[in-house]
Assembly symmetry: C2
Homo-oligomer: 328 residues x 2
């Protein structure tokens, strides 16, 4: 059982318990942490009735979590896992801000590189960025299906007011919380580089898997899309370096493709969103690269193309062409 | 009734009577021309039983055409409309070459800009290039559904041995054949520019309508894909100009977008091919731009992206990702 610094059971809230939040929140709950999900009504109803059923690579188990359907559910939490879709960052940050306990630590478990800045701008909350590696889905309300990995990298940005915190630092406390629950959680001294390492892979893999409705592994192995992914990563890395991010001195394209291969037959959240007719996070991925590239004078035509195509598909089937007419 | 220079009924064969070949061949047959389709067995069986049913914007009528299922069907033709998919150019050209009557005129009714060169390289046949504007489909064997336009532009290339032919020139004879059947057919003195004008619109519209399964009109009106189409056209025009094509001195991107808008709710042949799980002509469209751009040192990243995505989707559903696993 994970205990906090006062020796009592830690209290955690998950703001936006979708697949990612439910997996990590569920892992904490299973280790004895007191966890409250703020989540959609259907997921909450199912969990209240039967608990959260975790179907993971290593165990199948029901765990107990509390559920709330509005932001006041964060009120007693020492730690808040912030895992709403990036579309909802501002609304969700503003919603929880008035309810946060003094000293509560908010961790952003989200794709993208500007979430912490957006959370701060919207609400003043000073969140810790986390890089999330997990393949998980909610096949039905109340159920989490885990199919790969499940680890975190966290860290405060170099300029953060927390960079010089006394021991235990807030990142150290978060890492202890997760490692106590069997979730690998590394504290990085270059979290920006870690966020961008995942970001460039997402920019390459997410739109392609979404457009072709295929897996990361297939997209990375197919010769044509492998070369396309390489171009996406090269453009994105150019934007990162121009932004001052100290990326590791490796072939980032090769590293990104290897990472996509490790995700194997899993598909992306963007692919799932498109398949379900939901809005995607593409504006935080390739859309961000295009906007930031424009600010920095870096050409990003391939990111532009992928972003435009995903937006077009996202806008849905209702305007689609009539099948009868073909104009060569 | 259209007659040939000897005063008898003209004889036409259509090599590859898909939607385009069936529309133009059907129009000729309706005007009294003797037309033979070389086509797939199912289409041939249906036409032999009940004729070709033409459901057009201006009439619905059964017309009589003969059918053959192998290339010897061209043997008596004075004119051969060559309208196989660009994937099959070499095989089809080699197949008809030994059967062509002396003086037979072959007209390539195909998308792309290098068909005449490919036909010549494969078979020695000196075909006339045609730019085809028609929205047509074969909803079921034996039936052609016409939903927009229906005109041709033909012309011999500047360096062609036929450029100085005495009257009636071969292009003049082809134009007379079609106009006699009520099909507008212009003879151009800059056919390369006309081929490329259609080509750049196809490069912009076909992959996007295929990937998003939407119409030309929607793709051209949607702000994101409109901008994407503009970028495709700009890259493609740069390749055309570097190839020495004398394009008209207009904003080709604006012209291409307007052209896409005129096609309205029609979708592309590429979109239809993908929807039916068939191979597309994308290697002759964006694939050609990428290859030619590489030869000329012109960057074509957006064409590259669209080509790679269509190829990936074309390779089919059998390797698609499992829906259960999402890796954010």
């Amino acid at each position: 059982m994970t205990v906090n610094t006062e020796g009592s059971v830690a209290r955690v809230a998950v703001m936006g318990a979708g697949a990612v939040g439910s997996y990590f929140g569920g892992m904490l709950a299973r280790s004895g942490v007191h966890v409250t999900f703020i989540t959609r009504p259907a997921h909450a109803v199912a969990i209240r009735a039967n608990g959260l059923f975790m179907d993971t690579l290593t165990f199948k188990e029901r765990v107990t979590v509390e559920c709330a359907t509005d932001a006041s559910g964060v009120k007693d939490a020492e730690f808040v896992l912030f895992s709403v879709k990036t579309l909802d960052i501002e609304d969700a940050a503003r919603a929880i801000a008035p309810h946060l306990a003094p000293g509560a630590i908010v961790v952003s478990l989200q794709n993208g590189v500007d979430n912490v800045a957006r959370i701060r701008a919207a609400s003043g909350i000073d969140a810790i960025p986390a890089v999330v590696y997990v393949a998980a889905a909610i096949p039905e309300p109340g159920r989490i299906k885990h199919s790969g990995r499940g680890e975190l990298i966290i860290g405060d940005f170099p300029g953060s007011a927390h960079a010089q915190d006394p021991q235990p630092t807030r990142t150290g406390r978060v890492a202890a919380l997760f490692t106590g629950a069997g979730v690998p959680c590394k504290v990085s001294d270059n979290i920006e580089a870690d966020l961008w390492t995942k970001m460039v892979m997402n920019c390459a893999g997410n739109p392609i898997t979404a457009i072709a409705q295929t897996s990361y592994g297939h997209a990375a192995r197919n010769p044509e899309t492998r070369e396309l992914m390489r171009k996406v990563i090269e453009e994105s890395v150019a934007v990162a370096r121009a932004s001052g991010v100290r990326l590791p001195d490796v072939d980032m394209a090769e590293a990104g493709l290897k990472l996509a291969e490790t995700l194997g037959e899993a598909t992306s959240s963007t692919a799932q969103d498109l398949a379900r007719g939901k809005r995607t996070e593409i504006d935080s991925l390739n859309g961000y690269i295009v906007r930031r590239g424009a600010e920095l004078g870096i050409a990003t035509p391939v990111n532009f193309a992928l972003h435009a195509l995903v937006k077009m598909i996202e806008q849905g089937a209702e305007r689609r062409g009539k099948p009868a007419g073909s104009a060569s």
